[in-house]
């Protein structure tokens, strides 16, 4: 009879599936540094980021069949992670008021302000950039309200395209672009405030 034939096919199929699963898991783990780097700036603390990444990987490994091979796995993992983050209600996260943020200053505003604090005539741009410490950048980014920060972190730190960011956050691409635009302005305004505030008082 043909009873052993399906069993052999089943075995083959199972073996193939096991291999696909191993490949999926290896690929996902190779991306973990990049996933963590983004996660760390989506939330307020290292502990929270570690928690979130671990939960995201647990969920990803459980639902690995939903991943379409050949598509962007890093975006897929981050979509799981941002969904978890939103489900957690962004608990320990600050939600600053967005109404009073003045982002009217143009895109040259930060440069102009920093340059005016460098004593040299016509300094090169690296001298100007030195006005910003690493800590001031981390703080300035953390102070960006989370709707804007999510987009900023995905595009400017995670180096995702507008389209990927839209898919990860489940928002229209136009919203990604407007939040990115506004988020960068807010970041720059925060950076301008963080840079050598002691010189600020007598400026006007």
């Amino acid at each position: 009879m043909s009873e052993s034939a399906p069993t052999a096919a089943d075995t083959r199929r199972l073996a193939e599936e096991a291999r696909a699963r191993v490949r999926f898991e290896e690929e996902a783990l190779e991306l973990s540094d990049q996933v963590y780097r983004v996660a760390r700036r989506l939330v307020g603390s290292r502990e929270e980021a570690e928690d979130l990444v671990q939960q995201a990987y647990e969920r990803a490994f459980r639902s690995w069949r939903q991943f379409t091979p050949g598509t962007n796995m890093r975006a897929w993992l981050l979509r799981i992670l941002t969904n978890l983050n939103i489900d957690r209600g962004r608990r320990q996260q600050r939600s600053p008021q967005t109404t009073s943020i003045d982002t009217e200053a143009g895109d040259y505003f930060l440069y102009n302000k920093l340059e005016s604090q460098v004593p040299d005539e016509n300094p090169d741009e690296d001298r100007v950039l030195e006005r910003l410490s690493q800590d001031s950048i981390v703080d300035a980014l953390a102070e960006v309200p989370h709707d804007f920060r999510d987009v900023l972190v995905l595009v400017d730190i995670g180096e995702f395209s507008y389209a990927d960011a839209a898919q990860i956050l489940d928002i229209p691409m136009g919203t990604v672009m407007s939040r990115l635009h506004r988020g960068r302005r807010i970041l720059k305004k925060n950076l301008a405030d963080e840079a050598v505030p002691s010189l600020d008082g007598g400026a006007t």
């Binding site: 096991a18 783990l29 741009e125 950048i137 980014l141 400017d156």
Partner: protein
């Protein structure tokens, strides 16, 4: 009259994002070649973006890495 510096300022973000049309890129580049004032601000913005990426990068702890590796399905 067009204020080219103002126009260039507006084009900076989409320029660096690669979101401008070829014609717009050409327009911006024509101005940047002549205008050191704008060119400097473009270079600064490029360096700033890079600096933000580097300054905010925090390596993952070996502990977390080990935890993630432990999630793998055991091989039979």
């Amino acid at each position: 009259m067009i204020d080219w510096c103002e126009k260039c300022e507006e084009m900076m973000q989409p320029f660096l994002d690669g979101a401008l049309s070829a014609a717009e890129v050409q327009e911006a580049e024509r101005h940047l070649e002549k205008c050191h004032w704008c060119a400097k601000r473009y270079r600064f913005e490029e360096r700033l973006r890079h600096y933000v990426r580097v300054a905010t990068a925090e390596p993952m702890s070996p502990d977390l890495k080990a935890k993630l590796a432990a999630l793998r399905t055991p091989l039979h």
